[in-house]
Each structure stands twice: as C-alpha cells, then as structure tokens.
Amino acid sequence: MTATGALAAEPRAAGDDTAIEPVLVERSLAQQQTLTAVEQFAALHDSPLRPANASRYAALLPARSPADGEQYAFEVDLDRCSGCKSCVTACHSLNGLAPGETWRDVGLLHGGTDELPVLQHVTAACHHCLEPACLSACPVKAYEKDPRTGIVKHLDDQCIGCQYCIFACPYDVPKYNRQLGIVRKCDMCSTRLAAGEPPACVQACPTAAIRITLVRRQEIIEGCETGVFLPGAPDSGLTLPTTHYKTRRAFPRNLLPADYHSIKPERAHWPLVLMLVLTQLAVGAFAVGFVLDRFAGNPLAVDAARVHAVSSLAFGALALAVSVLHLGRPLYAFRAVLGLRTSWLSREILAFSLFAPLAAAYAAALWLAPTQTASGTTVHDVLGATVVASGLCGVIFSIKVYQCTGRSFWNGVSTSLKFLLTTLLLGIATVLLTSAVTSASSPPSLPHAQTPHDFILLYGLIAASAVKLLTELAFFLHLGDRRNNPAKRSALLMAGPLRSITRSRFALGVVGGLWAPAYLLLSGPSAAAGDAGYRVVAAAVAFVALVLGELLERYLFFAAVVPPKMPGRFAA
C-alpha cells in the first residue's frame, strides 16, 4: 500500500463557515457517550428476589439438606456434557473472579477405534473431598470442611499465600492469585446453596449435565477403593473426592486425556529453591562440624569453629529470610505454626524456627567461651546436639512436605536422597572452606597442613557426590518407560525443555563434588604451607560449584515435577 499521509485532505480551518461537518462529528461523539438503554427499555419487570427459573433449578438440587453421614457433591452426567464450557465462564462471572481466574475447567478424553472413535469432555471443579489434601497441608488452617454440607471452604483472609495446598491437591483445584497474594477456590457457591439456588456452573449448563446431589460418605469411601473415579484422573484413594461422574457408555481402554502427551515445565519457585538448599547447607554445616568436633578426635581450632558456626548461621538465617519471599502475604508468616497438627509445612517451619535461634546461641557461646576448644563444655555439647537435631528434623520435615503430595518425582526415596545428600555435601563443603580459610589466615608459625579428618571429608564428599549424581542420572532410565507416566514426563522435561539447566547441574556437580575434592586429595599432605592459597581456592571452587549445582538440582526438582491433575485440553 502506498503511504498516503501526503494525500490526506486538509481539515478545514476553524471559523470557516462552511465547516459544518466538525460540528456533526462533535455531536456524534457526544451521542455515542450517552447511554440510553435504561430509559428506553429497563425495568420492564418487577424485581423478584427469587430466581426466574427456580422451577428448572429444583431438578438440579437435592430436595433436602444432608443427613448425618451425608454431604453435598457435584454430579456430572458425562452423557449430557457437550463440551461448551459455559460452566467455566458462568463460574467466573457469577462469582466475580479476577480477570482470567477460573475455578472450573473442562478437559477432553479421546480414544477408541477407527470404527468407533470416542471423545468425552469432562467438566471439573473442586471435588470437595472427604479427606481434602489442601486442608491437611495448609499450615495456617485456612481450609474448613463444613461438617454439615461437606463443602471444603477456603478462608481467604486466613491464607498467607504459601501455595502448599496447590502442591497437595491432586486435582489442581486451588488457584493462586498473584495480585492478592492468596489462593482461592470453588466453595460450591455455598451462599447460593444456602439460599436455595444452584451453583453458577449448575445454573449455566445448557444441557443440565451438572447437578448437586447428596452422597453418603461411606459410599464414597467404598467407591474410592479401586482408585478410579474417572479414566485419566488421579488415584481417588488419596483424598476421597466426592464428585460423581456418571455415564451409560462403556469407555474404550485407550481413552486418554488430550493433554496426555503435553509436557510443560512447572513454576520453579525460586524462594523455595533457595530456602531448601540454604537450610540444608546450614544444617549440614553444623552437623558435620559438630560431628567432627565431637567424634573425630581432632577438633577444629577455635577460630575455625567460630567462623564455621557464624557462617553456617548466616546461611540458615538467609534461607529463612528468603523463604518468606515465597509467601503471598509475608506479614502473616507467623500464622504458619497453626497447622502443626496436620501440616508438614507447619512442622518444617517450626523446626527451622527453633534451629535458627539455637544455632545463634551456639555460635554466641563459641565466641564467648574462654576455652581453647569449641567443645569444651557439656553445655556446648548439649546445645550443639540440639542445634543439629532441630536442623535435621527440619530437613526431614522438608522431605515430608514434598513426599506427601504423592507426585512421583517427589517420592520419598528420591526426595530423601536429594535433601539428605545435599545436607551432607554442602555441610562438608562448608567445613572444608571455613577450615581452609581459617588455616590460611593463621600465622605461618602454625602451619596447618591437611589434617586426617580433611581426608575423611574429601573422600566423603566424593562418595556422596558420586551417589547423588548417579541416582539423579539413573532417573533418566525412565525415558525408556513404555508408558508416558509422570516419571517419564519429568525425565522428558529435563532432557527436553530444561536441557540446558540439567547439563549445568551435572557439570557443576562434577566440578564441585568430584574434581575439586580430587584436586585437594592429590595435592596431598605433602603440600607445603605455601600451597594454602591453592587449597583455599580449590575449597572455594568446590563450595561455589556445589551450591550452584544443588540450586539447579532443586530448580529442576520444582520445574520438572509433573503434578497430577484432571484430564485436560489439548495444548498447543
């Protein structure tokens, strides 16, 4: 097309008495901004509070309230769901959700044969489970299960935005609202139900495929015994979901969710990555230092012990500070202990909250102690042991936090291996570094050649690194799995979209955990005092590479996990 600005007609000058058109433009613009629908048409009907289609609603709601042992539940008639997704939009707009926020979703199952292909849309919202994982995971008791209706309700003002419920729910139900810093979810429109109106999705379904029914809890428990409540859905034995999917059709065996082959990295949760790695570093550093002091028979010099304790403490404090950044509402972080009775997250937070002041007390005691050795007194010993115990509890609770989600990439064995070995590796690396630094800065009259326990540490570091890297590598054996199970999808993610991070992770692990300690070993006991500088550099390389390597390992831990969910749509 030609540029036409040059040919633009000149607007007529103001005051030109032939210029009536600009007046017309003004008039049109003014008319455009005048809204007339109310005067012209509105209020054609009176204002009944009762919904106009109450009679249609009657068939979609139970005739009575739940009796003992019963609760409300969604019932979806798959034979009526045509996949229009009006339920999603009605839920969004009738509940006044934020732009783009949706509490219901519609997935697709497909399969069958050439002669009889099958497609089945599946609408799903919260299943208002008998044993809601969101509720037991929540560290602040922001979830309630109404004892009468069974509705699992989220208390928005109680929420601190830790998003652990999102990890815990197998159905991807709670939705995080970044602006508000909290999670929100479906409450079965409990206000509407209380007024005798069906939930928004039920009202809006053109084919009346969604209803509210009463279910007997015992029947749900029995029904979840097989674990299958819908093809392609997660194991129902985990949380006992109450939604009833009914159909008269026999589904083919190859019916799969349309997103079955879709893989997409999850959010990495950087504050959690940092928090996990740094808490484990701090706990490991204390534990390794303490064990050396107490049992290796060749205690650290006081200087080293002091520097070591303070630096470990610093990392621990940093970890806790960073972890708060993960919260949508960090000001309310103190609520996190409320869920102790059920939430591993609460327990983890409590353990680390004890660990930090105890470690501070221990470090302070070291600095104040007059004795020549760090472990000179029983008080020190007891204090030290308590620090280590609380820290290890914290690490173990961290493991439970993720293991409890039932995600296969976060299974107990591999999460334990990862977290405990990180603790050990980074603990050793810290001790090596602090001892190298303190000895290098010692007066030359006190040559501080490698001590026997340096060898133990170096061999330990190499062994632990080797085990950790090999087990992580072994996970890629899942690439050969016949089924596209979650483990294979995690492996595909790490070998595919997350490839460069995976490579860096292993490179850093080899450098920090194998090469640097091997260099230190080979430079050996014969090394002269003048080599102290090299030792510091090598120890620093090991430390930095290991910390970065573990950070990337933990990044992959979050990014490559495949959360269970209801069948989804095809994603392109």
Partner: protein
C-alpha cells in the same frame, strides 16, 4: 454485663485472636455475593444491578438474549435472559464473556491514517473523513465509480448495514459491495431462492424440540451452536439424531447414527437416500403433486444412485444408507439441518438442495418438527441477506427489476436513477476486480479478510495492489487493519442500538449499555458522517437514529415475504421477546414460534417448490501423490469466534482453547510419518506452509486432517475454489502434506 475495665484486655485478646485466625475480612468480602433482585438470584455484591435490560448477543446467529445488569445506566454484568424464547436462560461461553471483550486495550480509540513513513498515526475524525471522501472521490474520478468497493459484515445491526448499502450505492455511486456472509451463508441463500423462491429458512427453533428425527449435516451444534444443541437435548420425543459428518464431532458422539462419510460425498449420499425412498415408495406423493415441481426429473436423476454405487463413493456401507433412509421414512416429524459442512463447498447449493429435496419428497416441511433448515452463522447474517443492498436490492429485492427499483426509490425518497440496475459483484469477484485493476479503493467494515479469506497469501497480495484501503473496526490490531491506509474506530456490540435477525427469522434488539472507548463511533454514526463529508447527507436527514431508520426498513419489507411492517417499534420487539418475520401490519400472526409454508405455498409465482439437482462435481484439489492428505477446516471450540478479534480479548475464553494452531491427525497416519503426539509439524499445501502442533487422535479419518480456522495461518493453506452459483468459498477441502520439522 462485662466489667468496663476488662474491655481493653478483651479487645486485645480478640485482636490477637483475629491476627492469628481471621475467617472473615476484606479478602473474603471481595467474593461476597448478594441477592440481585430482578429474578437473577445472587450476583457479586459489588456489581449488584439497579436495573436490567435484555439484548441479543452479538456473536452467532442463534440470537440468544442476554440480560444486561445495569448500574447507573452502565453494564456491570450479564446473565442469559431467562424468558427469551430462543435461549431460555442459557448462553455459551462467548455470550457470558460478551462484555469483557469491550474493554480490550487494543480497542481502536481514534482514527488512524498511514503516514508518509508508512506508520498508522492518530488523526482527528475531521481529517479522517475528509481524507476518506477525497481519496475515494479521486479514485472514482480517475477510474470510474466502479473503482471503489466495500466489503461488509454480518456482525452489524440491520439498520447499519442497510445504511451502509444505501449510502454507498445511492449516495457515493459505488457499484460493488459484498459481505463476509459470502463466506458462510451464500450457498443456503441461493439454494432457498432457487428452490423456494425466496431466501427463507422456514423453521423455528421449537422444531428442534418437536422432531422425532433430526438429520444434522455438516453441523457440529455442540461447538458451533451450543444453545441449539441445548434445544435438541430438551426434545422430549427421544428423537433419532443422525449426524452426517466425516469427523467424530461432539455432536456425532450423541448421534443415534453417525454417518462418517468421506469428505464431500454428501451429494451422492443424499441422492442415494432419495433413490431408496423412491424405490420403496416412501414418499409423500400428495404433497409432491400439490406443492412441488420437477419431481419426475429428479426421480430420473437419482435412479443412477443405487445404494451400492453410493456406498462405494461415500465409504458408507449399504445397510447404513438403508438405515438412514428407513429412519427418515419412519419418522413422523423429520427435520433436516445443515451448517458450514454443506455451505462451504464447491457444490454447496446443490448439496443444500439435496436436503431440501428430501424434505419436499417426504412432505417434511411446513409442519412442527420438520423442515429443510439452514443454521446460519453470524448474528445478523439474516439481516445482511435481506438488507445489505449488495447482491439483493434492499428488502430481498432484485436490482434488475425496474418495479423493485421504483419501490425502493419511492420509500427512500430518492431518484430511481441512483439505483444500479445490476447486482454487485460477489466477494471473490471484487477481489478479481482488484487484481484486474478495475477496483482501486476498498472499504472494509467489520470483517477481517486478511485472516479469514481463502488462500490468504493471495488475498494479501491482492490488497497490496489497492490505492486506498479503509478498515472500519472495533480493534485496530486486526490483521486487516494492520494493512489499512485509514482505520476508522467503531463502537461495538453493547455500545450502540439496532436490530439483528437470527436464524429462525427472529428480529431482536441490541442496545447501548456501555460507553465506547475514546472517539470510537457507532457504525451508524460513521456512515452518516461519511455521507455528510461526501456531500450526500441530505438523503439521510430523516434517519437520525437506528430506530428512525428501522421505520423505513419496515416500509421496505412491506409486501415482501420478509414483511415485518406489523412491528410498532423497538419497544414492541423488546416486550415480545423478539418477533419473527413475516409479521405484516395488516394480518399480524399469533405465536412465539412460527414456521413457514404451513399452507404449502412457496414463493415462486406458481406457489410450488422446485426439485433442483445436478451431477456431483469432482473435488477441485483432491489429495494426490505430492499432497496426500485432505485438509478440513472448521470451528475449534465454543469459546472461539471466527478470526478471534473479539474472543481473543477475554482472558477466560483464552484459557478454553489451545493458544496456537494445531492439526488433528489420525494415529495410523502419524505412525507412518513418524509424527509424535504433540509434536510441532509442518502442514503444507501448494500455497503455503504453516507450523502446527499434532493432535494425534482417531477423531479424524485416515487421510484427512483437521485444523480450526480461528488460527491466522490456516487460510494460507486453503484452496480458492467456489460454489459456481453462490460464489461461497470451499474452505473444507484442499490437499496438504505433513512433515516433521527439520
């Protein structure tokens, strides 16, 4: 009574407790619901309405009414209107989100003119309109009045598209204009005109509930017309639902018989069914004798379509063809419905007529639950068919007919000489005109050809030859607006008044319930201003509002089959819940659900419907060695609308469909080509090459692939072939190949 002294301590404890445990508060209140009144039930408390008003949705031709919740005159929400006879309290996702897309950040808020540097820059309306008139007049002076044309839309109210047609042809002297309805409805229009004597879909939606046999052809109601599917689901007669579609669609899933024929063999199929019906004596001879013409010739024609031959062509076993014929024979209220699978074809008119023939020969028309029924596409395609003044003179008249021209001239108070004596060129002919240098200026209103037209690369090349391209749209980011020399910012649905006509001929209202952004103006106002700047404004003096112009449209309809002169005013349409044409002033009929031809009289002068038929044509571009797959296109989901200029603006709708282009491939074909599920692959035709994600699924037949047309790249592949009578593009058949990306 508590001791006063304990109060501070008490409130301290209460404060502490609520710090730790806070079941209510500002965040909870954000989602609080309140009874709205107006029969709406509960709504979000902060958007509780103080008035409501119902208006017709602005997407598809179903014509659902949405109850707009108003607060101080402005829309704050909506729910589907409970009492409207079309949708009775239901809406599809697009309807639910209809208001959300008005607030998009890329709304056109000022006229834009392409600068010398080639960038679109904001200008005043005065400059824009002066430029519009100067440039188009200049082109017309140099190349004749025919050298400027327009392409309109089925998305505008009847008042606006009639005003556009009148201003353009009678005021500006433009000869050629057409609408995007060419892309969806033209075949049905021509089929009805030829067979019934007027473009008159005969049904009411109530027929969906009253049939005992529904034959749905190339129509995926679940996705394309969800509320009509709702009506099928409400049918209490346990109807047989026959779905004729090469794909396993949602609708096919619910069919009692899914006839998954080879693509584009439906003409043979229905001739085959007619053959069986005639063979078995399963026809309504009395009806045929009394109300039709041409049956004997038709019977002779279908004699060649013996089931065995038809089975071979369609891939449908003989017994299934017999079963379909028997179902039609045994049904007492049989209705035939079709959509784009029939219309968007190189033989769409004859295929539509093959269904009309079945209805006529079995007497399945003019009674409840019957009919040969085209389900239209856009919200006002039906208004456009009657009043766009393009290939029909206003009111479904004929440009070639002097009496018709005089009638129109008299009603509009213009000189009959200003009315052209021939039809406009159709959309593809206008494009050919550009290619031939006969058309130099183009005015595109409310449509997006740079995305939607068949063989898109060629279209873009054609547009690049224009001297001046004006695009009038709600959004200045559409693919076509990006090519424009001048963009005129239009107010959208919800920001202006007017009336739509839906598929069942029901006239409904749209209303101004939201303020248009910036300087955007209703198309009605833009057309009036253009007339003023052009110098033909005096013609429009009486029509200062859509409702005033509606009174003129009533007069234009009088005496025509589409007569709605009995409608008093907008208020009456509102009170009646929409009014179907015909509704003549002298004998206004009764009833909310009315169908045509109850008396068996059709609109041909002899009152008889015609049997029209022709031998099937071969596919213009069949799959071959180099391009072995047949590409079908169509709707992807109920949350998407056409080129997505509006639906793409709702964050919620965007979550309901895949973000990028995808292609459905049969598992066996994928295996053969080594294509993995979810892999990005290349889809290539002779015209273009596009990337798409492979959705490997048995829902498509082997040798065919399917791509939703909502993705911009898809029409780079399609082959520009057309129905010879309707000039409708054949979007659903072209040859492609698939390959893995290097």
């Amino acid at each position: 009574m508590t001791h006063e002294t304990s109060l501070p301590a008490g409130s301290l404890i209460a404060g502490l407790r609520s710090t730790f445990h806070q079941p209510h508060g500002p965040l909870t209140r954000q989602l609080q619901l309140a009874p709205a009144g107006f029969g709406l039930g509960h709504v979000p408390a902060d958007s509780k309405p103080d008035a409501t008003t119902a208006m017709v949705c602005g997407y598809c031709s179903t014509g659902c009414a949405l109850e707009i919740h108003l607060k101080e005159g402005q829309a704050v929400g909506l729910t589907p209107a409970q009492s409207y006879p079309v949708n009775r309290g239901m809406a599809c996702p697009k309807g639910w989100e209809a208001l959300a897309v008005l607030n998009a950040p890329d709304r056109a808020t000022a006229p834009l003119l392409r600068s010398e540097r080639g960038k679109l820059q904001p200008v005043t309306w005065d400059t824009a309109l002066s430029t519009f008139a100067a440039r188009f007049k200049d082109i017309q002076q140099r190349h004749g009045p025919e050298s400027v044309a327009w392409l309109g839309t089925g998305q505008m109210p009847t008042e606006e598209l009639a005003l556009l047609g009148a201003v353009a042809k009678f005021g500006m002297g433009i000869v050629h204009g057409d609408g995007n309805t060419r892309q969806c409805m033209a075949s049905a229009v021509v089929a009805y005109k030829q067979s019934f004597g007027f473009d008159a879909p005969p049904y009411t939606y109530q027929d969906l509930e009253e049939s005992d046999v529904l034959v749905l052809v190339g129509a995926n109601l679940c996705i394309a017309h969800p509320i009509l599917w709702d009506r099928v689901m409400r049918n209490p007669h346990r109807p047989a639902v026959v779905v004729v579609d090469p794909r396993r669609t949602e609708t096919a899933m619910y069919a009692t018989q899914h006839v998954a024929l080879r693509p584009k063999t439906d003409l043979e199929l229905f001739y085959g069914v007619a053959h069986i019906l005639i063979d078995g004596g399963w026809i309504d001879r009395d009806y045929v004798d009394a109300h039709t013409a041409g049956f004997e010739e038709f019977a002779a024609h279908v004699r060649e379509y013996a089931p065995a031959r038809v089975a071979e062509v369609t891939g449908i076993p003989c017994e299934d063809i017999y079963r379909l014929a028997r179902t039609i024979h045994e049904g007492r209220r049989v209705s035939f419905w079709w959509t784009m699978g029939v219309n968007q074809s190189y033989q769409g008119v004859r295929t539509a007529q093959s269904l009309m023939n079945l209805a006529l020969m079995t007497g399945s028309i003019g009674r409840p639950g019957t009919g040969a029924n085209s389900i239209t596409g856009q919200c006002n395609a039906m208004g456009s068919r009657l009043f766009s003044n393009t290939t029909n003179l206003l009111g479904g008249r004929d440009f070639g007919n002097a009496t018709h021209r005089d009638e129109v001239a008299r009603i509009l108070g213009i000189d009959p000489a200003r009315i052209p004596k021939r039809d406009s060129w159709s959309y593809p002919e206008i494009l050919e005109g550009i290619l031939a240098g006969k058309i130099r200026g183009l005015w595109v209103v409310g449509t997006n050809p740079a995305h939607s037209w068949i063989n898109q690369n060629q279209l873009r090349d054609i547009f690049s030859r224009l001297e001046f391209l004006v695009v009038q749209d709600m959004y200045d980011t559409t693919e076509t607006a990006q090519l424009a020399d001048l963009v005129l910012p239009a107010a959208g649905w919800g920001e202006k008044d007017g009336s739509f006509i839906n598929s069942e001929r029901r006239i409904g209202l749209i209303k101004k319930v939201a303020r248009a952004p910036g300087q955007a103006l209703a198309d009605f106002a833009i057309f009036r201003l253009i007339a003023d700047y052009w110098g033909c404004g005096e013609m429009l003096q009486a029509w200062n509002s859509p409702e005033a112009f509606f009174q003129t449209l009533k007069q234009l309809s009088q005496g025509q089959p589409c007569d709605f002169s009995g409608i008093r005013d907008y208020r009456m349409i509102d009170e009646e819940g929409g009014i179907q044409w015909p509704f003549p002033v002298d004998r206004p009929p009764q009833g909310t659900h009315r169908r045509l031809f109850e008396d068996g009289r059709f609109y041909h002068s002899d009152g008889r419907a015609r049997f029209l038929f022709e031998s099937p044509r071969s596919m213009p571009e069949p799959p071959g060695e180099k391009f072995p797959f047949l590409l079908l296109t169509g709707r992807g989901s109920a949350a998407q609308w056409h080129t997505q200029t509006r639906t793409g603006k709702s964050a919620v709708l965007r979550k309901l469909y895949p973000a990028g282009a995808y292609v459905e491939v049969h598992p066996a074909d994928a295996r053969e080509l080594g294509i993995q599920p979810q892999e990005r692959i290349l889809v290539e035709s002779q015209r273009g090459s596009v990337r798409a994600r492979a959705f490997v699924t048995p829902l498509v037949q082997r040798g065919t692939v399917f791509m939703p047309m909502h993705y911009e790249t898809v029409n780079q592949l399609t082959h520009a072939s057309f129905d010879r009578y309707s000039k409708q593009p054949s979007y659903k058949a072209c040859a492609v190949r698939l390959s893995r990306e290097a």
